[in-house]
């Protein structure tokens, strides 16, 4: 029985018109149905044009150049920092460090704050649902500093076990690092409550916002986050630029990460004095056009409205869960729609996720198959891989119908 189809919150046709790639036919007569935004999102023409215009009109290296182009480039780059700061309600723009991506932001914290503040036998709490980017940097540091890593377990419904978390806090951890939203289960974790609990036990908190910041309003002051990290390319911006937000005092006390140009105040042959934040952490020529593109992406998202985007994704994911549950042999991982962002990872009995994705691709439906950089979570779920359909502001409920039709085609090819 086909469910009653809900109505889109956003004017999807109008939004899709902003994304040139969504008009592309991946084969004659077959338009792409892009359901892989958790991996990377598509880019609106507003972002593409902003970056284009930068290279056509203002390109120069930033800071220190005394000519019109350098001044323009510097202003555009620093404006992007202000835009991003306001977007997450950071108290000051200098608390926004531009990095390459979420992964680099976490490595930066691990190798600067972690290297100075963590000592042998110190406890770091992570979760079982982390992306490899929030596991491996801590594993590397743990090996260097002999740390004790502990993990908040994921329960059968895809929620973090907060009772176990409470008991882990008795170990007096120095740091708790967790994702605000799982890139596989879609679980939206109670980040504010978890942060409060960590602070009550004296720990510093790093929140991985790679999947949350693009999809719903995130306010660092409301969350109480000590560090928040996210990537530009997962929020309509370009690849190559990410963000580290940190509390001012923490950032100021941290040693530099990479050494080189721009991150110094003064250099002598045998020593240097680091620059102040944010420049202390931005060694070398940064991704200037990309940072400016990220600023344009934030403008675009704010113009559509984060609340409206979240509401649209909620309608789509709700409908997707309902329709997926109607297909015999499909198992969806993760919690109820109410606690979930726009992600549905699933498996079809008797078919490997790779093969599901391959057949879906034949109908232009782009999903991801594999472990989605969350191998420990897949081990916990006892599956080698999953197929993952994810949704963003340009996805309509019709896209869900196309996904379901294509899944039935998989069943037919595999004689199920």
């Amino acid at each position: 029985m086909e469910s009653l189809k809900p109505t889109d919150v956003l004017d999807i046709e109008r939004i899709q018109a902003d994304f040139p790639i969504l008009a592309r036919e991946v084969k004659p007569g077959v338009k792409v149905v892009y359901l892989d935004s958790t991996a990377t999102t598509q880019k609106p023409v507003q972002v593409i044009e902003t970056m284009n215009e930068y290279y056509r009109r203002s390109n120069a290296n930033i800071h220190r150049g005394i000519h019109v182009l350098a001044e323009e480039a510097t202003a555009l780059y620093e404006d992007a920092r202000v835009t991003v700061a306001k977007f997450i309600n950071a108290p000051a723009a200098r608390q926004i460090i531009f990095t390459r991506n979420t992964t680099e932001s976490i490595n930066l914290v691990a190798q600067t704050w972690g290297r100075v503040n963590l000592n042998p036998a110190d406890v770091v709490i992570l979760t079982e649902m982390e992306h490899h980017s929030n596991l491996v940097p801590w594993q590397i540091l743990a090996a260097q500093k002999n740390l004790q890593l502990e993990f908040i377990p994921v329960d059968a419904q895809g929620y973090l076990d907060l009772e176990v978390y409470r008991s882990l806090l008795d170990l007096n951890p120095k740091l708790v690092a967790f994702t605000q939203m799982s890139n596989v289960l879609g679980t939206i974790n109670p980040a504010m409550e978890m942060t409060q609990m960590a602070h009550d036990s004296g720990a510093i908190v790093l929140i991985d916002g790679a999947q949350s910041v693009p999809h719903f309003p995130v306010d660092v002051q409301e969350l109480g986050a000590d560090f928040l990290v996210f990537s530009g390319h997962k929020m309509c911006g370009p690849t190559g630029v990410g963000v580290l937000y940190g509390r001012k005092k923490l950032l100021e006390e941290m040693p530099p990460f990479l050494g080189g140009g721009d991150m110094i105040k003064r250099v002598q042959l045998r020593s240097f004095i680091p620059n102040s934040i944010p420049y202390k952490f931005e060694a070398g020529t940064p991704a200037i056009a990309e940072a400016i593109g990220l600023g344009a992406a934030v403008d675009y998202l704010q113009q559509v409205g984060l609340d409206a985007i979240a509401a649209q994704e909620q309608v789509v994911v709700d409908y997707a869960l309902e329709r997926l549950s109607e297909v015999p042999g499909v198992t969806v991982y993760g919690p109820e729609a109410i606690d979930r962002g726009g992600v549905t990872a699933f498996n079809l009995d008797g078919v490997h996720a790779h093969d599901v994705a391959q057949v879906l691709d034949g109908d232009g439906v782009a999903v991801r198959a594999g472990h989605h950089c969350a191998m420990p979570l897949h081990d916990k779920l006892n599956i080698p891989a999953s197929a993952r359909a994810s949704y963003y502001l340009y996805n309509s409920v019709e896209d869900v119908d196309k996904l379901i039709d294509a899944i039935y085609k998989v069943k037919k090819i595999f004689r199920l």
């Binding site: 996720a353 790779h354 391959q358 057949v359 472990h371 897949h378 080698p384």
Partner: protein
């Protein structure tokens, strides 16, 4: 796309002829594809004349990787170790009868990589074996 799933690939995926383990065996090797988590082990038993008497695979993977393992082990029955060492990527693609992009190529070639690493007696499988 439907070409990917030729009758023989679905058949061999769902009803493999050479799935299992051999104990005792003369050669065994296992490896995984970190991209997708596929895991494959191949056991080989030789006869007195340095020819492959029997070979079996076990593990988990997609239709392309498991069908390719099944077809490959059928193909190498009765062949010598030297002949196995000489096998190439194209031999496996001929067996499958399909063309593959770079991502799925890794699926299709995992079995050849494992078999050749075993044949050479290596500690670790290398992509160079199937280039």
């Amino acid at each position: 796309m439907d070409d990917f799933y030729r009758e023989i690939i679905i058949d061999r995926y769902q009803n493999p002829h050479f799935k299992g383990e051999l104990d005792p065996h003369d050669i065994t090797f296992e490896d995984s594809n970190p991209l997708c988590g596929d895991e494959l082990r191949i056991d080989v038993r030789m006869n007195g004349e340095d020819k492959i008497e029997e070979a079996r695979f076990s593990g988990r993977g997609c239709a392309i990787s498991l069908a390719s393992a099944d077809l490959l082990l059928e193909y190498v029955q009765g062949k010598s170790i030297e002949e196995v060492k000489a096998l190439s990527k194209d031999d496996v693609l001929d067996l499958l009868g399909i063309e593959l992009g770079p991502v799925r190529l890794k699926c299709a070639l995992l079995s050849l990589k494992v078999l050749k690493a075993g044949a050479y007696g290596l500690d670790e499988a290398s992509d160079e074996l199937v280039e």
